[in-house]
């Protein structure tokens, strides 16, 4: 029997071998030929987790942090893991109803699928977070709390300077510049946050985790061999003085306009107020989106940074610059005088002057002190008609080049985005405007700061730096240094721009003229006890088209100044829109800013001035009524005048 069945043994062996061969062939195709399985396996099991570094801090000139990195929590949900939880209790904590709960779960499933995490409730308010954290164990593993870094602003100030961070939009992600970001990332949208995004953001770390079948992380992939560490963002150190900024914002309340103060010796901006402003804390945290749309549609345009984006005729504040050009070109000397009898009629039009007494413009110093219109329009004409240029076109172009080098008519390059260029007319512009038929009379107003020249408050303050420094300036900027950085980004702010080579005596006549303005002239409101202030008031005429009719509006109140006279430490430009004389509003505000900065306090004697400035209200009643801003304008608007006064004048 056994022998008889020997072939059958072979058959059985063949069956076994055949089956195994079939399996081996299949395995060969599965494991060796087909490559898709290892990709599928990685997709299954490797989780790429971005580790966010903490964003760089921003400190003011005295090392105070003007913002904080706070942690808020998102409640995230993994729909597949939501099982046997007390939905009613969760709804009660989150203050939503069951219908809303269901809706959010469905949204999460549609957006990210059942086994992936989706945000269920973003940026939980602290009390909600507290309650949730206590009872989190009831809702796990379906729900988890996830950290989210946000900014907060202890001083509630400098909103337009600092900017805000927001979620990257799909349109941005499509651009190559944003390739480092992914959906849901936050980045600087405006202000310093945007300009210095590359240093503030730090370097993201990537952690590769292995995950199990339910997407739960199980530990590092390959012992963290491919991980990269997160490196914290670099800190910015600003020239900004946050106390000064807060004071400026308070003084400017209920007014439209701006204050720019620069340290002329470095070009560092000490304060930059654009009014009306808002509490930067509104654009972080739980109600960011809602607040943003309110700010965006508000009639007073709080998101518009007037200090760098609004342009004004400089008015009389332009006159020292006109003098500087004439001096530098050698067309006058400081002793040059103009026989003004109350106006200028050299061009067939009569340009009125505030003063008519003879001799009020008998030299440069007097002309500045008395703000003689005739003198300066005449200077402009003398300059452009100077015979050494051999023609008005070359002469005007030369004038334009001066304006350009003073920083007018183009962007200065301050380190917050959205700066406007202002305007100063050049020869080509003149040719266009006057069809090639023009002479020194055509735009002679530019000599006194009206006409075809408009500037931003920042440019005005920068021009003051030129006078204060006797001929040079540094590009105005906020960031003085970046911690642990080679300073490449800041190199252009360390470069000295020399724009006029005039003798010291020439300068002193301009400077003394400005000193006279404050001590004896229109700028007396800017006097500070114990400090020699040099300033210039301006009352900028302006028009607007209202309902299709060109209408003359109330003048802008302008004041530019620097102090102290020798070795100046601060240059200021203040503009209060449509309020009236420069001496009424702009001058006192500028002087308070300078006093606070130079003396670190405001003299008690000036309490009444502060009070007046706080209470002045120059907002158009219509605009004011339509503005929803008061309820939004946090710290400053909610405080009464007395409360603010108590801060600066204790007792």
């Amino acid at each position: 029997m056994s022998v008889y069945n020997q072939p059958r043994r072979r058959v059985i062996q063949m069956i076994i071998l055949g089956m195994v061969l079939l399996i081996v062939t299949r395995l060969f195709f599965l494991q060796v030929v087909e490559k898709k399985y290892s990709k599928l396996a990685d997709a299954n099991a490797v989780l790429r987790k971005v580790v966010y570094p903490s964003r760089g801090m921003i400190y003011d000139r005295k090392g105070r942090s003007v913002l904080r990195n706070d942690v808020m929590y998102d409640l995230v949900v993994t729909p597949a893991s939501v099982k046997n939880i007390d939905t009613n209790y969760l709804c009660q904590i989150l203050q939503i109803d069951r219908e809303e709960f269901r809706k959010r779960i469905v949204t999460a499933i549609i957006k990210n699928g059942r086994v992936r995490q989706s945000v269920f409730a973003p940026l939980l308010p602290p009390d909600m977070f507290g309650k949730l954290q206590e009872s989190m164990y009831l809702f796990q593993p379906g729900f988890e709390l996830v950290q989210r870094q946000i900014r907060s602003y202890p001083y509630s100030a400098a909103a337009n300077i600092l900017g805000y961070i927001g979620e990257v939009s799909p349109q941005m992600l499509a651009r190559p510049a944003y390739s480092a970001y992914q959906m849901g990332d936050y980045l600087g949208m405006t202000g310093l946050e945007k300009t210095y995004e590359s240093v503030l953001m730090g370097t993201r770390g990537i952690q590769y985790l292995v995950k199990d079948n339910l997407n739960r992380p199980q530990g590092p992939y390959e012992k963290g061999e491919f991980d990269t560490a997160a490196i914290a963002g670099k800190n910015l150190r600003l020239s900004l003085d946050i106390d000064l900024q807060v004071l400026g914002e308070r003084l400017m309340r209920n007014k439209i306009g701006s204050i720019v103060a620069i340290d002329p010796q470095t070009g560092g901006i000490l304060t930059m107020v654009s009014s009306p402003t808002f509490d930067p804390n509104l654009l972080t945290g739980s109600y960011r989106t809602r607040n943003f749309s309110k700010l965006f549609v508000d009639t007073t345009k709080p998101l518009f940074n007037r200090a760098t984006q609004a342009t004004y005729p400089p008015g009389s504040a332009m006159k020292p610059l006109t003098a500087l050009v004439a001096l530098d070109e050698g067309v006058i000397t400081p002793s040059f005088g103009y026989p003004c009898r109350g106006g200028y009629s050299g061009c067939g039009r009569f340009i009125r002057c505030t003063h008519s007494n003879p001799g009020h413009a008998s030299n440069l110093r007097l002309a500045i002190a008395n703000s003689c219109n005739a003198y300066f329009v005449h200077l402009y004409r003398m300059e452009v008609d100077a015979s050494k240029f051999g023609g008005i076109r070359k002469g005007h172009q030369r004038w334009f080049e001066y304006m350009s080098s003073f920083g007018l008519g183009h962007r200065l390059g301050v380190d917050i985005p959205g700066e406007y260029s202002g305007y100063a007319i050049d020869t080509i512009g003149m040719n266009k405007r006057y069809n090639n038929q023009w002479n020194s009379c055509s735009e002679l107003y530019v000599g006194m700061g009206q006409g075809a020249v408009v500037v931003t408050p920042l440019q005005m303050a920068n021009a003051m730096c030129i006078i204060a420094n006797r001929g040079y300036y540094y590009l105005p900027h906020f960031v003085e240094s970046i911690d642990n950085d080679n300073g490449e980004m800041l190199a252009k702010y360390k470069e000295r721009h020399t724009v006029a080579h005039v003798s010291d005596t020439s300068y002193s006549s301009v400077v003394l003229g400005m000193q006279d303005v404050v001590e004896r002239g229109t700028g007396r409101a800017a006097m500070i006890e114990g400090i020699t202030v040099c300033g210039k008031t301006g009352t900028a005429e302006n028009n607007a088209i209202v309902n299709g009719v060109l209408k003359k509006l109330k003048d802008h109140s302008v004041f530019v100044a620097f102090a102290p006279r020798d070795n100046p430490k601060i240059a200021v430009a203040v503009i209060v829109e449509n309020s009236g004389f420069g001496s009424t509003y702009a001058a006192p505000i500028a002087s308070l800013i300078m006093e606070k900065y130079l003396n670190d306090t405001i003299s008690v004697k000036r309490k009444q001035v502060v009070k007046n400035m706080l209470e002045y209200n120059t907002l158009d009643p219509v605009v004011r009524e339509k503005s929803k801003l008061d309820s939004l304008n946090g710290a400053t608007a909610k405080m009464t005048t007395d409360q603010i006064l108590n801060i600066y004048f204790r007792n």
Binding site: L22, I23, V24, L30, S38, D42, N44, V210
Partner: protein, 429 residues
Amino acid sequence: MNDRQQIKLTQGIDWPVMGLYLALVILGLMSIFAAEHREGDNVWYNIMHLNKNYSRQLMWWGVSLVLATIIWLTDSKFFTATANLLYAFGLLLLLLVLGIGRDVKGSHSWLVIGGFQFQPAEFTKLCTNLALAKYLSSLETDFNKLRSRLIAASLALIPAAIIILQDETGLALVYFAFFLVMYREGLPGLLLVIAFSGIILVLSALLVDKNILFIIFSVITALVIYFSRREIKRSRSRLLLILAVWAFCSAFVMFIVPFAFTKVLKDYQVRRIEVMLGKENDPKATYNTRQSMIAIGSGGFWGKGYLKGTQTRFDFVPEQSTDFIFCTIGEDFGFAGSLIFLSLFVALLFRIIFIAERQRSTFSRVYAYGVASIIFFHLAINISMTIGLAPVIGIPLPFVSYGGSSLMTFTMLLFIMLRLDADRQMVLR
């Protein structure tokens, strides 16, 4: 004295089988460990507290080795003597399970004894193998007679029928392994051919529309009749046979298969078969097979290295300690490792067949062939299932899969064979 006893104790043991057995069990333990171990686990703690599959498997292996030693020390006559008794006992157990069994993972096939779950369907393979060997080796049995063949077949199929009632279709399928043994003992080879044709018939019935199949059968039948018309002239019965085959095939395709699919088989079984045939793409139904294929496929040629597999370690593959244990080997050790692993099994099977053929007693030979057939069926079905060649049928990989009943049964199966082999020089049984 001591020396002599030592010699006596291990005398006659077949070391190749023993070595392959040890290798497979250890590989199994390693694979279960790999499927469960997480970085930072306290392995000793887990082993001591029996709270992981690998620690329990280690314990079951201990128990199995004790059983193996007892078997080794038992006289081989005991197994021939008690074969029928054990078979009856096994059937009793199976019926008991039908009554007081417990449902585990959708099958009603488990007994709970003192906190341990036990699956008699595993154990009865051993009883059936013994009973079949006993029946075929008895002097009254003439295996050339139809009656003997029917008795032998029912010996194998009665337990299978009860197991199907317990919803363990997979394990029941294994009892068909005994037909391989019967083939070796003289069952006509035609039966194997018929069985093979039957499988093809079922597959084609599932894959091709039944009306088209009917037409195809009719055309083939017509052609066969045409080409063998001379033979048909010689004997009328040939025509009848051809017509009978045609009628059977047509009826099978037209009625039996649809009936089986709608009335006999469970929904999940139908779905699994359809998934395997590629007729259904329901991701839920294909999940097991797909994950298993991803795990094995991602191993590549050399594998990811022991404990480096991401798929098997993180629960992507369901049932990975039991039915899908081969995934761990495929992923961690790759094609090369799988090849070595399979050759261990082939070596074991060939060695068992070699042992079977050197037996002088029919009992021992039939028994050994039974062992080989059972192991082969388990191996073929289990691995085919993990690589998408067969529908998901829940049966363990011998010696490797986690499971006390399975490990003990296979250990006992093997050691009874080793005992019989050691005593092969003794009298005929």
